[in-house]
């Protein structure tokens, strides 16, 4: 496999305003490298995700290399470099949920939404993701949509849950 240059993603209309907000966050954190994760967290909140242009903007403002930023962004599964859907479905794949059917639940969601894990539906409504453990082992198999937890989810419940969104 030889690497090829990816086509740049289309920037949102309010790209500049969003970058200004990110710049304010960086300034409020005194551009300190020790605050990098907090800054990235806030930046993702503002921009929705962290594409290369945003990473390089942060790198320039903080005067650290973009490979360092990208290293952090790609290390933590919380950060996303692709645009996210309106709602994020997070299926728990921790031990308890996994053995009680988490894997089947993911397969069911993939089929229902016609996406793979870490992808977003064509209508931009849902992003499917997995988490290692959401700390709700008693409710296994569990999933979260945004901040709502659903317990003992089996594939046949998918349709009725998603229809609420």
């Amino acid at each position: 496999m030889t690497l090829t240059k990816k086509t740049p993603q289309k920037l949102p209309d309010d790209h500049k305003q969003k970058l200004e907000k990110i710049a304010e966050i960086i300034a409020a954190n005194e551009a300190k490298e020790s605050n990098l994760i907090m800054i990235l967290h806030a930046a993702q909140g503002i921009y929705g995700y962290l594409p290369f242009v945003v990473q390089s903007f942060i790198a320039d403002k903080m005067r650290i290399s973009v490979s360092k930023i990208s290293g952090v962004v790609t290390f933590y599964s919380f950060f996303s470099t692709e645009p996210k859907g309106k709602h994020t479905i997070m299926v728990c794949m921790g031990t308890a949920c996994y053995v009680r059917g988490g894997k089947k639940l993911v397969e069911g969601l993939k089929k229902h939404l016609n996406v793979d894990v870490a992808e977003t539906t064509e209508d931009g409504k849902f992003t499917l993701s997995q988490a290692r453990c959401i700390g709700a082992c008693g409710l296994a198999p569990a999933m979260m949509i945004d901040n709502t937890v659903y317990k003992a989810v089996t594939p046949n419940k998918i349709e009725s849950i998603l229809s609420k969104y």
Binding site: M1, T2, L3, T4, K5, K6, F52, Q55, S56, A59, I64, S65, V66, S67, K68, I69, S70, G71, T74, F75, Y76, T81
Partner: protein
């Protein structure tokens, strides 16, 4: 002093050193892989693990400080087993194509396997990352990377660029530019310091050997080669000579045996560069002294890694750069004009090859500006390592070669040209000639060396008061020229920030992209000798001091080309062939 026990032997060592050193000082060798003296100390590979009594887990010898009363076992059963498993795990996702790898027999991973007596390959995985990234200068083969992070240290901590870093997590971890982009799409200077420290075949120069053989074997093509100053003090290491051995004559002889038509010398072009660059500096200084506008400090432009760095990170300072092409580009341009006319060969049928201690030169020759009259100035760049490989491939008995001279008319050089290969050398060579031109006297230092700018310091500075100048240069009477020299891009960054802030006190700055200058460039043989920099530096100054002429403007061959072809330094033909312009690359990636 503290006392500790290593392998039942009581040893006394200085306080504050690591277990690795304490052992080494007492004749006990602990195997290492990622550790590199003076470069990388990170504990990432864990191969130097040792057992320390009372410690819960094995400790890495390269990072752990030796302490009073410590009891260390470097070869216990637990240690031997751990080292072997660590090694086998590294092999598990390593492409094991050793026989077709260019580091075969010079691979540190391979040597370690032998040291550790590993004779089986127990762990298999399907996750070997088959990915090759070819940039104009550097080729990355991720199937061979063992994630030791030496290259990250070279890029981030030594050069302070940080193009390479660890991306992703766990099995997906790769050492790559941000977002796993190809190197050519990152703001990489192509200095190649990562290549020099890579223990395996994951980072190497982009191969030009094949195309050079094709040219040599084509009877319709006239092949012209030129080796850079630093190549002659590095090449010998490829043939078992001690670090710091000069092999100038043998190198010229070997090049002739390879079957090339003309063996010229980049040293000759270095003398020419001094004429052009010295004149450019004189013009700029005269303008400023007579109240006209000119940009100072002027900064040298011989190092293409440095050029790509300033274009990417400080494009606003481009007017400070000398417009001179680097010496080998000058020679290439003249080979395909002056020399081609002289021997009646069409420039299209001439193939120019530069032997360079450098990886960035491979990128430099592909620049749009490096063409004249529709043909590229230089067709191929071989690193010192690649030349060594070619000589071996051709079956040339290098050690028993009789030394030969370079060919006329672009082969004769002065000592001032030799020192281009080391930090401070271009500046000293320029000052030798500029001082002589302004005052009519030789530079008033022993052996013509300016002590303040000789050596391996990161930033060196000097000032020189001009007195009793010649009548033509009376504007310089009493003028104090302030110069600075740096090697390595971290030092360059400091000097550039001064210019940006308006606090730079200098008139003339020399920057070399690699720490210590070309002697330790990205294309030089890899060395495990911690004193390699000093030894190669000494060899360069010895070459200089051994020359009959020591000042570029006295080189009769250079005087002659101005008489016959170029007319005068900085003249019309010089501007066409020997000078260039630069590109703002800050928005390229």
């Amino acid at each position: 002093m503290i006392e500790l026990t290593i392998n039942k032997k009581k040893v006394r060592v200085e306080k504050g050193i690591t277990i690795l050193y304490a052992a080494k000082q007492n004749g006990i060798h602990i195997p290492t892989l990622c550790y590199m003296e003076g470069v990388h100390k990170f504990g990432s590979c864990r191969i130097c693990s040792v057992e320390v009594e009372g410690a819960r887990t094995l400790q890495v010898a390269c990072m752990t400080e030796a302490r009073d009363g410590m009891v260390v076992h470097t070869n216990s059963k637990k240690v031997l087993k751990a080292r072997k498993v660590l090694y086998e795990l590294m092999l598990s996702d390593h492409s094991k194509n050793c026989l077709s790898c260019n580091r075969n027999q010079s691979c540190e991973l391979q040597q370690l396997g032998e040291t550790l007596c590993v004779s089986e390959n127990r762990f298999h995985t399907s996750s070997i990352r088959e990915q090759i990234d070819i940039s104009p200068s550097i080729t990355r083969d991720l199937s061979k990377c063992i994630l030791c992070r030496r290259c990250v240290t070279a890029c981030k901590n030594i050069q302070e660029i940080g193009v390479l870093g660890a991306q992703n997590r766990g099995f997906d971890t790769v050492i790559a530019p941000a977002m796993d982009k190809p190197l050519n799409d990152a703001k990489c200077s192509f200095c190649g310091q990562c290549v020099v420290v890579c223990p395996v075949g994951a980072l190497k120069e982009t191969d030009h050997i094949g195309r050079v053989w094709d040219a040599i074997n084509n009877p319709d093509i006239r092949v012209v080669v030129q080796p850079a100053p630093a190549v002659r003090v590095g090449l010998g290491e490829m043939f078992g000579y001690p670090v710091g051995t000069s092999v100038t004559g043998q190198m010229a002889a070997a090049l002739k045996l390879l079957g090339v038509d003309d063996v010229f010398d980049t040293d000759w072009a270095a003398d020419l560069t001094i004429m052009e660059e010295g004149t450019e500096f004189l013009h700029r200084a005269i303008s400023v002294l007579s109240g006209k506008k000119a940009v100072l400090p002027m900064i040298t432009s011989c190092s293409p890694g440095w050029i790509k760095y300033i274009e990417s990170y400080y494009p606003q300072l481009i007017p400070h750069l000398s417009t001179c092409k680097s010496p080998h580009m000058m020679l290439g341009a003249l080979a395909k004009s002056y020399y081609a006319e002289k021997i009646n060969v069409e420039p299209e049928k001439m193939y120019t090859v530069s032997i360079m201690p450098c990886t960035a030169k491979k990128f430099e020759i592909s620049r749009e500006e490096m063409k004249n009259r529709g043909v590229v100035n230089v067709d191929a760049v071989l690193t010192t390592r690649e030349l060594g490989q070619m000589i071996k491939q051709a079956g040339i008995d290098f050690r028993n070669l009789e030394g030969e001279n370079f060919d006329d008319p672009m082969g004769y050089s002065t000592g001032a040209a030799d020192i281009f290969g080391v930090t401070g050398g271009v500046m000293e060579a320029a000052v030798r000639s500029v001082y002589a031109i302004i005052t009519g006297r030789e530079l008033p230092f022993e052996e013509l060396h300016i002590p303040a700018i000789v050596g391996l310091g990161q930033i060196k500075e000097a000032s020189l008061k001009l007195e009793n100048v010649l009548p033509d240069y009376k504007m310089f009477e009493g003028f104090e020229v302030k110069i600075a020299v740096t090697s390595g891009l971290a030092g360059a960054k400091i000097l550039m920030e001064q210019i940006v802030a308006g606090t730079s006190p200098y008139h003339f700055i020399e920057v070399m992209g690699c720490p210590s200058g070309c002697i330790c460039g990205g294309g030089q043989p890899r060395s495990s000798d911690p004193d390699v920099r000093n030894k190669r530096l000494k060899a360069i100054y010895t070459e200089d001091e051994g020359k009959v002429l020591r000042q570029s403007h006295l080189n009769p061959s250079i005087v002659s080309i101005y008489e016959k072809y170029l007319i005068k330094p900085g003249g019309h033909i010089s501007h066409e062939l020997l000078h260039t312009h630069y590109v703002d690359r800050s928005e390229e990636c």
